[in-house]
Subunit: 481 residues, 4 copies
């Protein structure tokens, strides 16, 4: 059993709206950047839960808001989008994950990564439980169903205390939605209220804007928020103040959408700050600042502001390119980079160009882009990354490659500069990054840069998980361009 | 939770053949008459199990033997076809049902109906188990995983002793196939051997013929047959001779294919016997004997032989009509009957016609056909059914309508004759039917005619099952004509 | 340019019914045996023509009577089904073929083969015309549009006089349907009247039965029948009596449906006559008469009647097997024969078996079936064909293989008997066949058996047609099992 | 017959490359902004032409470069993308348009609009020609086939002299590609050369960049460029210098891609000039300049440069929204605008915002966006359009709405300002626009702003075209989100 580590996903839920399913569809649409592998919506009429999931983007799964949405039409709904990986698709892992147990039905949608899932699974298997999926979400349903948990005064709070790792969770019981966030507040989750007065929850505030709902507040770390006929209510499964928050800065640097407000700050403004700080740390004499769109756009703008060097569009992103091409050979793969990011030669030709991107992970695509800039005539290229070198794996839900593949693990900055063939290379410092946050600096997780993991990770776990067999289930899902 | 009662399905499994998956595809094809709702194949390379299932016919799911079969290619394989119902499709109930538990992976394929499944499910839910499907097959995997069962010397035999009802089961563990049949031998299951020497199992012998395998023998009631690298071996989980067999005669009357040999008799020959007996019990002076194709073809031939009245083709079945039409109105529905069964007017015009079918269930389609014959000019119509009036529901896997919908429950023979508007109507007697079997008469189940159920059925069960909520899961499966 | 010779197709048209398109759908369904490669319906509201075509069966193209039928909903409609070939699919050749010319719109549907189409096409190309398809139907639209034709008092009659070969044609102009049949009456075409009083036309009477319409009469050779708001009217483009009819007997022997009435005789009754005559010409001492279903069923019944040897079902046809399999190798191909035609061993084992089929074309599948019978235990096999040996190609629309592939061209009867490995082989004589027709014997085409072609065929044509380039157009049509 | 006026399309062709079809696929991909309604590729092996077309985007039609591309694999290829309209899809109009005529096969791909197509079509219909499509491209094939044209020394040049309107055309004969541009040079077309030395042609230079080809030069107005085994050669069908060019500035303002170089200027740089001029003509005291992405991005950057007001990202475009939603009601439609263009509230809240877009056509979506900005807290909104008010229809290929729908036709600037509810509104003047071009000012078409049409348009034509019937052909194409 190989657990999927690629758990960066998006959540949306709404209670009581007559068009709750349609709103969830729109909410998921605006969260599409958090995952395009699969999408699903579960809805309830107050007594029975229905669920529809499929592989691919929200639009593909729900085909222009067609009959699936109509069949689901119910006033209570939660939805999920799942991160796309290059590997095999697994429809069985699509969420929401719906099951029936002694207390009735429950649908679960999860964003994050449970680091103790393999241990819990092994334990439950030893108790005679069976598993249908390879996702760490399934274990949560087993925990909920355990008789000693069921009999607690607050079974859900009890269960959440068994989970280790990063998680935002939406539970839909037939009569209510319960939204929970892990005690560290690693991933974002917020509450909104529509113009009609219905409450909703979403991974990012952009989903609230998408449906015209106002931002109420974040779900707090260690909090369970209930949406039911009485409106919204709250309780804590971990006493507030007992756990120091560890917000994932990488959400700010890369993952979240520019118009979202997470961890108390607008993402675009945060990234501009990163850019201004980057200009301070790594100044250079140049003619133009350009971004690798779209991930580097905000920080490039900040760099231009900070440095006084004019900002311009040197690269244009194609809106029609899907993410996964079937590339027969290297030549074709290079053609794809050209297709996806077209250079405007007039902007870079014979110029000293500052190029800003959010991060450099493996370094190979960065290298391709730098070569393309050179071919377009750039005289000097000064690459700037708006985060520190990524050297450590993330166990809390970001799908970084293995340590071996992280270029900053294997090469010095100078070696990386040499590899991507640029005149200069500058990474923002970790201190510089932390200088841009609004909350206390020690309220953020910096593990991928510093190696300091706020939740202890048992390294033996990986070995354990790899010893199990692989379970492959597939169906006739088409992957499209 | 409404349990699906529509469990008439087809099974096929083969061990060790290099083209095991392809053979399973062909085997399922020949069993397609046992179910077109869904189809699936699980295969193993000896260590890992893969599974592919989908909604619709075998050909549709596996698209002309295309890439899914190639991806599954492994020397151990089991497959399943599932009965199609007019209601909602439930992909989640497609089989084989694959799970992982403490002992590794297992895939289960099931034909029959477990009457104690609701009780077992309630019991396991009380122990904290969760359920993903609405099929009675899932409980079997839970039973297998129970620690006190796992620790038995023969866990599978132990588990089978917990099941009540009709079942033929194929279990695929990574290294072997285990085929089991309930102690009453209600549904058929047989063993074959291919020309290359590989052993296989199938619901009916027609699947053996389809792949050119020879018929070895039936799996005995209460027997487990193991197919592994040592060939085939056998053990009994119920001591032979302790349970009196209760073979389902309706398999002979309607369900099985004419070229199959089940319960020791060829189906076509059996039906001809029924027809000859029917001619003895309900003779009539007529010009021609015709069948409602294809279900009445064999018994009509028998009736013609027994009566001396010439057999002819008065109706032709269309090969291109799917089973489920979207019928906007009554007029269109009547057009469909015409499309599906075309009358050859020259054969029936101004004739006294004996029409033979296997059975009359609701009576409405029979009535439509009789009216069509009359419009085609038949002077007299003498309807003959080659089984006794069906008055009781089947709890062992045949999808009869409710007692209220069974016409023989609500009307006398004379009233039925009047309803279908024919000159005479004759049903074969139950004694007449039992006179056609080769094995002892008390080795057959006659519950749907006599109401005498060989396995006690707790009538409270239905009430219980209806009290649970309905769980609906669906995906973007297309149903086609 | 390689012309498609595979022009056996089915036609249906109806004027004035509120559900004309739905009726056409049902009519085409009942004519599905005449072609499954493509299907299409064109409809008119009296002023504008709409058209929808696609690859595959009627049910597949019109998906259970879904939205395409609704979009087409108009009171005037014609439809077409096209014969399926093993080769490449050409959507561009789907019919009805709709064009616009000086007189407005016209849709054409064609069953037959125009032997002068290549010459006409060459001529029109020389005049500057362009062609979009590789079908011989397109030239008809060009002929209709020619200014010197348009100016005639009856342009359609004038155009039909330019066509050589076999043709039944439906023309839909915005305000009417015109149905025409070639002067030889080679292919069948008949007129019907629905219960509501609307007139319709169809290739075979089975389509009239399918929609509950009564048979009015055949369209006569050389006749044009008009369906418009004034009901039905008739004119002749060739003076009746000037051309001797040449009905295709092969329509009776094989192509048409058993419940159809063509050329004044019911097909099933005709085939029974063939069987009785066959018993007279080739008697044999045997235990049972069986048919190769479904093509040999009627004649086998006749042979049994004629010979006194009992008829039984020795082979069962699968209803779930599509026509074209992707067969990786010879072994798989043999498995398919088994799947499609399952033998009932009890009927043939240790028996002297008479097997009746309609014809033997290449001989290879017949050989496979005979071997399967032998493996099932048949003691003696006596093969009987209900038509004479096919030795000559058909230029009038039946898709026989080339002369080289016709087994009767290359082998003596004795050599064929030896090749298919049977104890005896008997073909019905041509005289015997002609003894079964109701109309004068010289009113039938016997070219494929006798080589006497009623319409002269220029052998240079084939050479000419092969010298042109091949035009291949394809789209993303899925071929399914 | 209603002619499609929506003829803004993209062309790509390449001769001699072993992966010509793959390169054409990539070339079309980069031209996808010119049309997403349909896509097609025709290829030749030197003797035979194959063609594959379908509805939807290039990626959708050719499914990730799958089997269609493989089947087409030939060294000569041309491709076409077609503009998407909100109305009915017409597969029959997909291009390349392939036909066979007296001289063999030819495939035609067209970008532009032939204003004399209705007259030519009427003329050819009078000569007896038939038409299969409703596109103005088909008439070109008829002209090519005309015997008096065929016999000319240069038939193609002769035919082009009969065409009036805007056109870039690619002709593929089995052995060569011929690329032609109308004498006014209205639409762009350029020649490139790959690293391997193969010549190609494309609507915009971005397609050359996409495949790594270098820009050679534009195809000149009135020129025919031939790509064959001898490389590239040129001839003129209209003597150079006799016709004054009339380049479509709207290509620069809106249609072409920012990284393309057309009419001798880079599109992005041109738009920045427009923005700077706009700042000069319509200055305002404000806090931030934002763009309506992506159409207004370049000119907004220019406005910021010209005005000294800082540029920022106030709106983010979603990459996952397709163009056509099924919108049940007004509320849902407004939600879609939010989804497609998300506002970053932090940038606009309590700010005086300058919003720059390329143009205002109907005004309704502009109004929606302005309202959204206001809801996000903008204190003042100053809308700026980088082109003059569009008041006249385009007969040369741009799909503007009817005169009645063009807001600038019905309202004064002040009324428009009032309608879209902004503090100020400024349009760039026509003179200002012409001040940004590099070529002589009178070498551009300004008809949509000035009403001065360089090619005379017969206003009766519209009346004529509307009097013909509508021909609707459709097939089972899925429209997706």
């Amino acid at each position: 059993m190989v657990f999927d580590k690629k758990e960066e996903c998006g959540l949306f839920g709404i209670y009581g709206a007559s068009d709750a399913v349609q709103q969830t569809f729109f909410g998921l649409y605006s969260l599409q950047h958090r995952g395009q592998e699969s999408a699903g919506i579960a809805s309830s009429d107050g007594e029975n839960i229905q669920c529809y999931t499929g592989m691919g983007s929200v639009g593909r799964v729900f085909r222009s808001g067609g009959s699936a949405l109509e069949q689901l039409a119910n006033p209570i709904a939660i939805g999920h989008v799942r991160y796309s990986t290059s590997g095999s698709s697994k429809p069985i892992n699509s969420q929401p994950f719906i099951t029936e147990y002694s207390q009735g039905q429950v649908a679960v949608a999860h964003n994050g990564n449970l680091i103790n899932a393999p241990l819990l699974r092994a334990e439950y298997e030893a108790y005679g439980h069976i598993f249908k999926s390879t996702s760490d979400t399934e274990i949560i349903s087993h925990l909920l169903a355990k008789p000693t948990h069921v009999s607690k005064s607050d079974p859900l709070a009890h269960v959440l205390n068994h989970l280790q790792g990063a998680y935002c969770l939406l539970f839909m019981f037939p009569d209510r939605i319960e939204a929970a966030r892990d005690p560290y507040g690693i991933r974002p989750l917020c509450i909104g209220k529509t113009a009609e007065g219905h409450y909703c929850v979403a991974s990012e505030s952009c989903a609230l804007d998408a449906i015209g709902a106002e931002f109420v507040r974040e779900v707090e770390p260690g909090e369970i928020v209930t949406l039911n006929q009485d409106g919204v209510s709250s309780r804590f499964f971990v006493k507030p103040g007992t756990v120091k928050p560890a917000h994932c800065i990488f959400e700010h640097v890369y993952f979240s959408k520019q118009n979202s407000n997470i961890f108390g700050q607008n993402v675009h403004e945060f990234r501009k700050r990163l850019g201004r700080q980057l200009a301070k740390e790594h100044p250079v004499d140049a003619d133009v600042v350009i971004a690798i769109p779209d991930s580097g756009s905000s920080s490039a703008l900040g760099y231009a502001q900070g440095s006084g060097i004019p900002f311009d569009m040197g690269m244009v992103r194609s809106h029609y390119i899907g993410r996964t091409f079937i590339s027969p050979d290297q030549k074709m793969r290079e053609l794809q980079v050209r297709l996806k990011l077209a250079i405007i030669p007039e902007i870079v030709k014979d110029k000293r160009v500052v190029v800003v991107d959010d991060s450099i992970v493996r370094g190979t695509t960065t290298r391709s882009k730098m070569l393309a800039l050179r071919q377009a005539g750039a005289k000097e290229i000064h690459m700037r990354a708006s985060c520190a070198p990524i050297r450590f794996p993330c166990f809390y839900g970001v799908d970084f490659p293995t340590k071996e593949e992280l270029i900053a693990n294997n090469k010095t900055i100078e070696q990386i500069r040499d590899f991507i063939e640029v005149e200069s290379l500058g990474y923002l410092s970790l201190d510089g990054m932390l200088g841009c946050v609004d909350r206390p600096k020690d309220n953020y997780c910096t593990a991928c840069w510093s190696g300091e993991y706020p939740i202890p990770v048992d390294v033996r776990l990986n070995k354990f998980t790899m010893e199990r067999h692989q379970m492959t289930l597939f169906d006739n899902t088409v992957t499209e361009l």
